[in-house]
Subunit: 357 residues, 4 copies
């Protein structure tokens, strides 16, 4: 009970970093949507590794192979399954990790949970590579949402100490999201991109890594979408986002900033505008009581710095129960935040589509 | 599909603020646990309203009535249901809210979702009062966890601009948690309590409210508890915590602080200590890849300032679709963070017990 | 993980035969349905014990108390909970059953499952009395279905060796179902009622019991309702019906009779009639591939004879692990099939409503 | 919400008869089981088409390709996915079925449900071919159960009017099940096999088909396995079995025969035998109140005659809404009951493993 999500839209992610294939099954998609394969591939390319000096040199086409769920290119009501064959794997890079767990990785708890039977190569089922099938499913979800007038877009809000201009929670529009989507460095303010790049390359130069924050907006979600309590939009979105490797925090609207606010400042006042109800601020991030209020949904997700670093670290030998120095080889991103932008969009799209169907 | 949670432990919360009763059903509790009613009541009192000048004057005994699930005071395997009768309700206080939604409340989206048929009195199903049945279930979960050597405890980490000493993620022990549990003002550093009280009373004096942060620690969770991906501990805990009214952000370990960290600082190095594997820092908050690593679990939850304030606010008339000034009467906490401490403990206990069973 | 059902409509049944109360929570009901309490009570009376010489002399009002889910008598979107207080219980009747399990009852497996902590009085959570809350939920579901033009009705198809005229799977109409609903003895052919009564009284005279079959029809389910595979209508209906105590078999359309049919006879030919697609026979009971085809849904459910009988039976002492003779006292129906008719209707209505929402 | 099953063991079946592949994902399998591929393939061969004159001439290797979930041949805790590539498909055989639905098939309701976007070729997602991935999952479940001392075995209990000797519900043993498993014609009494074959060939000779019944026994399930109500073993097993195409009825123990029994005959008396509690009859099929009582579990499943027959049938043109004669070409079994024997074993094994984990 682990790798499946959703109430109405059931999503099952499977695979290990170095198993023959990884993939995803989506059950519950409405029939009749022509999947735009070009748009999907453009979306997947944004997450793919090996694009530039800022990410891992492991290069894979990551072209999804659709096994079922489509008939003549259109969703046919049956579960949709797509897989990506793993190639270009170098399992020997990971030979010693089964006994000497990498700090910050799932190696050790997975080993305990599964009594040493876990697949240790490339992080196994915990690999960031599993976000590729998440993006296949999410890319299709984005197309469904788009048909319903819902637009999801994210940007790199922060890398280490460099901040992008945050989204304007009241006035943000779909054009800006589209614009960012087409940028090599997805930020609002292009002027800060060089500083972010510099921060990443500085870490890389020291065989280290950096963390950051992705901010995501959703436009066009009608008021009334969502549910109270455990199926509230915040619960659903957070459960999905925390399933993404390296995520350590999720906040909506003013988020942790609410701690220092007075109610009179935090409450979003209502107004009537062009015949619809809106709010003049958006500290609640578009969600009240778990239900959309019609304003943009705003969610910020923090990614810790990549755990795999080239610097020697303190670990232990599980078999000998004694200290052991560890240097992680293999190929790793000095910063996953850029590649995480479409992953956040995919996760948000899937959680939302489940709530909307 | 809304007010039920859990895989192995199914929790169903029901009730509206002013309906005849509110309550909870827990299905999946192991048989054979004698429920300590005194301990449970002491736990519930911590959440109950009307305790002091800092919280709402609405006073209710909130004594749970057990309908089933116990046989001679011991869990018997069948679903356990407990209810609290609502008394002392003053529904007329809320007469105008069905048409004029309170900023920051679920009134408006609930009205859209349910086509105007929602129960508007006292916040209906969205009332903070629904955390009482959550605490009944959570209080019982805490007793189960305690039997298994697991201890859950929280403190007020922040009220407006006043910060308590944070938990030490590596060396925190059960004695401290027990000590805090017995304090009228649950903080680590008693010296800051007066400043926190002052901040609350200042807001109250202006008919306003303040927000804050609750930090919660869980000790004794064995490495290996949890699941990858969507059923990861962070996903489960976050889904449960975001179901609590007024929560706008959840973070684990270093949380949003990870954004500015390098991997070399954020990774928690392993050591062998007294024959067990531990880490020398706890930036991951005891969870890696969704699975416990045996270190204390650390989660921080932000509560926005109480939405119901006495200050006049801008709202709209839904029937006339025009601006309307709103002054919320009724009885409300100037700050819910203190009463939220046991609620966070309850939510965390329930999510964890579900993962452990 | 046991007493909750449903995907979109979540139903939670709780209670033990002799606990303070039994009840039901339904989550996911659309808002805006005025619950007709008179109609609901008329429905519940059909299941209630103590109506005539054919059923148990235990008399209870079984009037449901609604705790929440309604606002001014209309469903308000929040979970609906109703309970029935247990009164008139005579727990001492069951004193020896914890050690000496009744043949045909859940006493023994429940004792093993819950390590002796189960509630043994009156059958505990396994009591047929738990069908009362099922009927509260089902009675409300029937009102929702009726609003959508869907009519559910059942009759006693067989008591021991006496058979009623079966429903005509093609031409059955709502008037017949309504007519049967109002009969004291719910059969198509009133002429066979005396023989059925005689069979029941004969068994009763010998302190024994008899079994029988309930046939249920559902009219007005549109073609296309249902899902393939595990969420097929037959899977959903069967899962719900087998949750009713004493049910040992479920069949749709020609059911077990299909074994001796040729495909040419079993396939239901299509015709166009008044602009809609219909079939000229109904061996598939209105369901193909888990999905309704627009014809009446037909399901037959067999109930074993009441397990509690006055005749001395062979059992064992669990503590001494040796044979022990058992005579069950208490008050029991010689035949539950009559009272099972509304229970089947309730179960079918709930499973269908879940599939339709 | 359709093609996924299970609480602790999640099973997702995907694919269409003529899509590139069909397959299955199982999530929740314990880590550490070496999957015996030879034994699995021997199991799959029993279901495979094209074995003899009694089944469809479509021949496929149906060798599963494992994409993930294994590490060095052993389950590794991560979801296990296996697929079968579809080859040897002749889609043009099905060209006219999208407009002219086959009687007894899901063609028409699927077309309504999915607005004409369903995959009509080869029955799409409703094809009996989807039982192949069910058998991959079930074959692995059988190995897990075997490790725990649980043995599942079935036989052809009836073909048209020819009956095999039924299982002895009290004295059946694993040797008999093993013996039957190795027979080309899986019956208890080899003497009746020729009559069953004759019945099948007679139907085949007339381009018709016949139905039948599969009886399945499960030995070694400990008393206490299962849950009350909706998660009772009968509910779980029935939900799974009704997901198998062509199943129209499921009964446990004496099943529909209970209708004509007295309680004194139907109740299974307890005895102590070799230090364990057993019953001297098994009319309840090993299940009381949804929970195993330690006796063999007995379930009978009826399969309707294959819907696809060569005889001309009455259907309609959906586009023209007028009568149309239909002759189904393609390759079809005159009787699926033989091939259904391992499918029933697989379904029962999966439902049980979910209940046991």
């Amino acid at each position: 009970m682990a790798s499946m999500y959703g109430n109405k839209l059931k999503i099952s992610i499977f695979g290990q970093s170095h198993s023959p294939a990884i993939g995803v099954t989506i059950d519950g998609l409405p029939a009749g949507l022509p999947v735009d394969m070009d748009a999907l591939n453009r979306f997947l390319v944004r997450r793919a590794p090996g694009q530039n000096a800022l990410s891992t040199p492991r290069r894979e086409a990551d072209a999804p192979e659709f096994l079922c769920g489509l008939y003549e290119g259109v969703t046919c009501g049956a579960p949709l399954t797509a897989i990506i064959h793993n190639t270009n794997t170098r399992s020997k890079d990971y030979a010693n990790l089964a006994d000497c767990p990498r700090p910050g990785h799932a190696d050790y708890p997975a080993s305990v949970k599964w009594n040493g039977y876990q697949d240790p190569t490339g992080g196994g089922h915990f690999s960031g590579r599993l976000t590729a099938p998440l993006c296949i499913a999410g890319g299709i979800a984005l197309q469904f949402l788009s048909q319903r007038g819902i637009c999801v877009g994210a940007h790199v809000a922060q890398i280490e100490h460099v901040h992008d201009t945050p989204f304007d929670g009241v006035n943000i529009n779909a054009d800006l999201l589209q614009e960012i989507r087409e940028k090599a460095f997805p930020v609002v303010d292009d002027g800060i991109a060089p500083s972010m790049e510099a921060a990443i390359l500085a870490a890389k130069g020291e065989a280290d890594s950096v963390g950051g924050i992705v901010e995501c907006a959703v436009l066009g979600v009608p008021a009334g979408v969502g549910d109270p309590m455990f199926d509230g939009l915040e619960s659903r979105l957070a459960a999905m986002l925390f399933a993404v490797p390296a995520v350590k925090g999720v906040e909506f609207g003013a988020g942790f900033g609410c701690a220092t606010m007075r109610g009179s400042a935090c409450n979003d006042p209502y107004v009537v505008q062009d015949g619809t109800i809106r709010t003049t601020s958006n500290n609640n991030g578009g969600i009240l009581g778990g239900i959309a209020n019609g304003m943009p949904i705003l969610v910020r997700t923090v990614f810790k710095p990549t755990s795999s670093i080239g610097i020697e670290q303190d670990s232990v030998s599980l078999s000998r129960m004694e200290p052991q120095k560890l240097t992680v080889h293999g190929r790793h991103d000095p910063c996953i935040v850029l590649r995480a932008v479409p992953v956040v969009e995919a996760a948000v799209a899937l959680a939302l589509l489940d709530a909307i169907l």
